[in-house]
Symmetry: C2
Subunit: 289 residues, 2 copies
């Protein structure tokens, strides 16, 4: 039996769809049913339910966007840094393997020397580098809390998108923002992301950290071109002159824009669609809200 935490969130719902589609028995644990943030409660539950694997899709993101985390620091710290530590303790105490949804947003830019950041690189968009959003700071602390965790996958998601229009979908965001910031990014197609994560467990890959993004990277202008070419939205997209103007006009806290290296996941035999192709595909199958 797979135990899913945070199953009502954007990523959690995608896990529910995946597991349902695969006919894999799972239990989506609502916090009302069990306060799994209490280590002993979760440990008891894992022991009693005979859980084979736990997926932690719970975390604090901030709505409508990451700026909201600057106003809810304690909740953000709790959801992204304390909760993973408590889950780790419950899973280690009961010998339950598990996976945690982390974020690639703990990096900024390219790897020194070019290309994407690798799993073993130190986060450079974190409290430790004193250049980050509060959200990214807490996600990086969450990874610190999980250093050396037993039987634990740390899956790094980045800017999820899919074919279903939603305020959480990056493609929807791009279409709805009044103005855009030009940047190069790695992205995760949501359904491919959850499939790839689950395959780590199904294929019994070595535990540890994986960048789970679509291979390649894409600029905001390229995304706009793909949207316009698809016919889903053909408006004239407007851009900020530069990051300074974006920060002055639209944002409270800096954004992570970064490239991640996906070699580790690919070498392990887990395939995700090249990012431009994945975007084009989502736009071809676009489902309006």
């Amino acid at each position: 039996m797979i135990i899913l935490l945070g199953g009502s969130g954007y990523v959690g719902q995608a896990f529910q769809r995946l597991l349902t589609g695969l006919d894999v028995p799972f239990h989506n644990v609502a916090r009302k049913e069990l306060d799994y943030s209490e280590t002993h409660r979760l440990a008891d539950f894992l022991a009693e339910s005979g859980a084979s694997f736990v997926i932690n899709a719970a975390g604090y993101t901030g709505k409508p966007n990451v700026d909201a985390c600057e106003l809810h620091k304690a909740a953000c710290l709790f959801g992204n840094a304390v909760l993973p530590g408590r889950l780790r303790e419950a899973c280690e105490r009961t010998g339950t393997p598990w996976g945690h949804i982390s974020s690639g947003c703990i990096f900024s830019g390219e790897r020194p020397g070019g290309g994407g950041f690798r799993e073993e690189d130190e986060p450079n968009f974190s409290f430790r580098t004193n250049h980050c959003s509060f959200y990214s700071g807490t996600k990086a602390l969450g990874e610190e809390v999980l250093l050396g965790a037993q039987d634990c996958f740390v899956w790094r998601l980045r800017i999820p998108f899919s074919e279903v229009e939603s305020p959480r979908n990056y493609l929807t965001k791009v279409m709805r923002y009044a103005r855009l910031l030009e940047a190069a990014n790695s992205l995760s197609q949501l359904d491919e992301f959850v499939r790839a994560c689950f395959e780590c467990w199904q294929k019994r890959l070595p535990f540890g950290t994986y960048n789970v993004t679509n291979p390649g990277h894409v600029t905001t202008h390229e995304v706009v071109d793909l949207i316009r070419a698809s016919g889903v939205c053909t408006k004239e997209f407007e851009f900020f002159r530069d990051e300074d103007e974006f920060m002055r006009v639209a944002a409270k806290t800096p954004r992570s824009n970064c490239l991640l290296d996906t070699t580790k996941l690919q070498d392990a035999g887990i395939r995700m669609t090249e990012v431009h192709d994945a975007i084009a595909q989502s736009l071809r199958n676009w489902v309006r809200e």
Copy 2:
């Protein structure tokens, strides 16, 4: 009615002694009685009890010393950074003024230009500066979480000592360590510390951050000389050659050694004994365990 949280700890017990001695009615809330880490529970309790002031002496220190925090990161983050944020929310929701015990251990060394760090200086021993213990990192984050808090005192304690022998008493530690690290530090005489904190409230000082340490600073060698001169312990004290040897042999994580400026508290009319005198006085009245 004063509400005391964390009253069973080393600092909390001193607050209990102080308030009892002053005949000030207070309620030491045990976590078993009320899970005050749940914002809504604490808010309800504050509203029902008609609390006039809350003292938060709860936090995560690490036993026997700060190294233990490196092993219990989630608990340390929760106690020192999440909990203050939740208390802030409960106090602001109910309009209850309060005080939080922070730590001067978010600084290292002297203020650039010499002298002690002032209340408005940025912590330089924190996650943000990427040079800190996990403990100090979480205490600095706790202060970040409290930035702009309404009707809130942030009282910075440093290395408490008193006349009562105890594993938490700095003078006891100095006498029991096999070897010592030479450093210059600001210290807080425990009973004077809690009295000074409470006077901030009694005298209705402006809310905000206060360094609550004894004026002046002291080196480890000076402390040893005072101990030997007092006759409390006349052994030959041994010292590490330098911080490198200390880190290699005795410590998992770097220590904060620092000077704090106490002008703000003194200018507000709150007196504490000069640090050498305070140490000599504690040693004169020494009470063995």
